[in-house]
């Protein structure tokens, strides 16, 4: 036992020394349920609770009780930047803690084999604030992206073994971007621009779940791409009076940000009465994110910008397990590998993206047969990643992306409470 502990501790420390992290590729947040997060965010093939409404709507058909589930995580993310040699310059983010959440409710309808549910969750988001006056303050100083999905869902069981489900997604999105402008003011106030917009959009989420044997189950789910099209967002320029012609007051902007589709597969294995194992894979269709353009209502000739993003589709691979330590206590562990969808040359200050390894753990405790809490903690690790001037030149992004090394770490605890009735 002691030896095992030492090995685990040592391996974690080694990962730590190599530094870092971010949550998930790009601006995806895979924090859809505490029980799932604790198991490497698996569960597409094994619907353990009603968080399956977002992860695999097909799994809801297997759940034979009404329930509510409220959960939230807290993100502690730190990114460091180091300029290319021989520069001694380093910068850090001072990102605000965010609380991605998920709320689910399910209802066993009077119609036989039909379940209804609703999920409210935050599958995408980003919050990054670089230290004031940092090297690339003209590219980005601060970003906040929030996406909230509301998904009413129906799920139907076909026979004993198959469940299918579909949900309609109403999405709300909000974005706030702040950056300094490359001009200087006599009054000493730093000229900057703040872009702020909200929007709504629609999408869907479908899934299938099946039992191959009593031990083995599978699932597949597809959540559609949702395009967040900001129209008429506020573009608030803080500039010296003499530049108000170039940067007009009360300006508005249009921009579009795709929230990519995700295709997921999962396998569940009930190894013993007390031990359940999962393996999942998710394909996120990041290639939808080709560029980020801002079009302004006033003075578009000067202000409009198009930034190349050219993300790539990427698979994430996950495993996780859950063990019943006692009748009331379940213990969980998991991990995943999440390669970056961003090539060198396209790394931006808003998504300083790296390949990530996530390690998670958690527990569930049932106070009563109806009420339980689940807690998780997720540690996301990666190695420093460098973007060179050469990379940027080859990508055609030179001058619009930072050059240097990035490294990130994230530590994300979370908790949920559920009640069935």
């Amino acid at each position: 036992m002691k030896k095992t502990l030492t090995v685990i501790a040592a391996s974690l420390l080694v990962l730590c020394l190599n530094a870092t992290t971010v949550l998930a590729g790009g601006y995806q947040l895979n924090l859809l349920g505490q029980r799932q997060i604790a198991m490497g965010h698996t569960g597409v093939g094994m619907p353990l609770d009603i968080a399956t409404i977002s992860m695999n709507p097909g799994g809801l058909a297997t759940i034979d009780h009404n329930a509510i589930l409220l959960g939230s995580s807290a993100t502690f993310i730190s990114t460091h930047y180091r300029a290319p040699a021989p520069s001694s310059y380093v910068a850090k983010t001072d990102s605000p803690m965010r609380t991605p959440f998920s709320i689910y409710a399910s209802y066993v309808t009077p119609v036989e084999n039909l379940r209804a549910g609703i999920g409210i969750y935050t599958p995408y988001g980003n919050a990054l604030r670089w230290e004031e006056g940092w090297k690339y303050r003209f590219l980005m100083q601060e970003i906040s992206l929030t996406a909230i999905f509301v998904q009413p869902t129906l799920s139907y069981r076909i026979g004993d073994r198959i469940g299918i489900g579909a949900g309609f997604i109403f999405a709300y999105g909000a974005v706030n971007v702040q950056r300094d402008l490359p001009v200087d003011a006599q009054d000493g106030v730093t000229p900057m621009v703040e872009l702020d917009g909200t929007t709504t959009a629609f999408g869907y989420n479908v899934g299938i779940h099946g039992k191959i044997t009593d031990q083995i189950s599978f699932g597949a789910a597809y959540r559609s791409q949702i395009d967040m099209e900001m129209s008429g967002g506020d573009a608030d320029f803080t500039v010296p009076v003499s530049l108000s012609g170039t940067f007009p007051a009360g300006n508005r902007f249009d921009a579009a940000l795709p929230l990519p589709a995700v295709l997921s597969f999962g396998l569940g294995f009930r190894a013993t009465e007390n031990l359940r194992l999962n393996a999942d894979a998710n394909l996120t269709f990041w290639s939808a994110y080709e560029n980020l353009s801002f079009e302004f209502e006033q003075n578009p000739e000067t202000l409009n910008s198009v930034g190349l993003r050219n993300f790539n589709d990427r698979w994430i691979f996950r495993i996780g397990g859950e063990f019943d330590a006692t009748d009331r206590l379940q213990l969980r562990l998991g991990g995943y590998y999440d390669p970056s969808p961003v090539d060198e040359g396209y790394i931006t200050p808003e998504t300083p993206d790296v390949d990530r390894i996530g390690i998670s753990g958690g527990f569930g405790y049932a106070f009563t047969p109806q009420t339980e809490i689940n807690a998780s903690v997720l540690l996301v690790l990666s190695s420093p990643r460098e973007q060179t001037a050469q990379d940027a030149m080859e990508a055609g992004t030179f001058g619009t992306v930072p050059v240097g090394e990035f490294v990130t770490r994230a530590w994300i605890p979370g908790i949920s409470i559920s009640h069935r009735f």
Partner: protein
């Protein structure tokens, strides 16, 4: 089963407790084979931190030598002592305050943005307030040979305010700081005196007498060469390491490139009227400037033309010093030729470029002869013209006011321009001496300030 729960629990405990900062360690700059313990900057206004047509404290504090000294200090360099003036609007040699961008309302009520003095008069910067030896020996207005002229402080108040003795030379005072490392950026005024006065002085000559060189002449080659050898030779003989910086071509300096040569915009009717006007003055038809609808070259004074004037051609330059009111309202450049002192004609540009090339060749030769770093700022400024220089996610170029590199006098650097120059110099120093001086963030230094 018990062991399995212990495994889960202990792994969980580690995940909860683990707290590791990302690690990207700060690099520590190193001097390599260089000795930065006493850095002395020798030169003219560009070294002094002169900007916006005046010597003022803000400019001095963001002079390229002061920025470079900051980089050296990180690598074990010594303090850098500058002859700072008191805070304020500063002064040029004629007692005028620094320029600032100002909004003025034209006769037709449209606001425009133009540089103007920040105060009615400059501050007194020439009363002696400081004692050396100084690390920044940049003397605004100095030409190459001035640095070795005894008693130069009596001729130039910018040296007078800081000289160690009425008979001191700039080079002698520089040596008093016992430089282990120096930068020498001199020669700009040897050409610019002629260029900024519209080529009204003597052009490039191989031989001449320093005593006979007037303020708007090009320094004769023999005088320039002798001075560079004397300065670089003296410094090198003392064992100092250093860098020699060359002279940017006039075509990369906004003072010469801002007013377009063909800025005369005419309607067909106006063109016709102008032609008729010249004809009415008795100008023979073949010599009447060919005014056409659209953009036309300005009319320049040209003593070589039979009628003393002609239309400017592509490549010729109208200087930033030309009174804009006269261009707009007094018929300068159309009815009346722009006087010679405000233009550089093709032949005059030829003189300037011949001198610039010869001086730069000499500076490079001296750098090689004395085993010094040669910094080709000329080439850097050429790229700044086109396509521009990218630093920290922004584009800098040599456009007046907006470009970010040049201050409001169109000749001297902004703090941002000084940061670019300091980074270029330290990069060359690193290459020669194996040092790892750290470039500064250009985005941390301001360009032109807007009202």
């Amino acid at each position: 089963m018990k062991r399995l729960s212990q495994l889960f629990l202990s792994a969980l405990a580690i995940l909860v407790l683990v707290q590791c900062e990302p690690t990207l360690n700060e690099r520590t700059p190193d001097a390599g084979q260089a000795d930065f313990s006493s850095y002395v900057a020798i030169g003219n206004s560009l070294t002094a931190g002169y900007a916006d047509n005046a010597l003022h404290r803000d400019g001095q504090q963001s002079s390229f030598p002061n920025i470079l000294a900051g980089q050296m200090k990180q690598a074990g360099g010594g303090d850098f002592f500058q002859p700072l003036v008191n805070p304020g609007v500063g002064s040029n040699a004629d007692g005028q305050a620094r320029l600032a961008l100002q909004v003025s309302i034209g006769p037709d009520g449209t606001p425009s943005l133009a540089p103007g003095p920040a105060a009615e008069t400059g501050q007194d910067i020439f009363s002696r307030q400081v004692e050396g030896p100084f690390n920044n020996m940049g003397i605004p207005g100095a030409r190459s040979f001035h640095l070795v002229v005894e008693g130069y402080g009596n001729l130039n108040p910018f040296f007078g305010r800081m000289m160690s003795d009425p008979m001191a030379t700039v080079l002698g005072d520089a040596m008093m700081a016992q430089p282990t490392f120096f930068t020498l950026w001199i020669g700009n005024n040897d050409v610019l005196g002629y260029a900024t006065s519209g080529g009204t002085g003597e052009g490039f000559a191989e031989m001449g007498d320093p005593a006979a060189v007037a303020g708007n002449d090009i320094t004769p080659m023999n005088v320039f060469s002798g001075s560079i050898d004397a300065i670089a030779g003296t410094l090198a003989a003392s064992g100092a390491q250093g860098a020699v910086i060359n002279i940017p071509d006039v075509t990369s300096i906004p003072f010469f490139t801002t007013v377009p040569w063909n800025g005369l915009l005419l309607t067909a009717e106006q063109a016709q009227q102008l032609r008729a006007g010249y004809a009415a003055q008795g100008v023979p038809a073949p010599l009447i400037p060919d005014f056409q609808a659209g953009q036309n070259g300005f009319i320049l004074a040209d003593p070589e033309s039979p009628i003393g004037l002609r239309m400017a051609q592509q490549g010729e330059l109208v200087l930033l010093s030309v009174p804009q009111d006269s261009l707009r309202n007094a018929g300068w450049g159309s009815i009346t030729p722009i006087p010679d002192q405000y233009t550089l004609r093709a032949s005059q540009i030829g003189e300037v470029q011949q001198a610039t090339d010869a001086f730069n060749a000499k500076l490079q030769e001296a750098a090689n002869a004395y085993d010094l770093v040669f910094v080709d700022v000329n080439t850097v400024m050429e790229s700044a013209v086109n396509p521009g220089l990218v630093f920290d996610g922004t584009l800098l170029n040599t456009v007046f006011v907006q470009g970010g590199i040049f201050s409001l006098d169109g000749v001297h650097l902004t703090p941002r321009g000084s940061a670019v120059v300091a980074n270029v110099i330290s990069e060359n120093i690193n290459a020669k001496y194996g040092s790892t001086l750290s470039p500064v963030n250009v985005s941390a230094y301001p360009g032109v300030h807007f009202p």
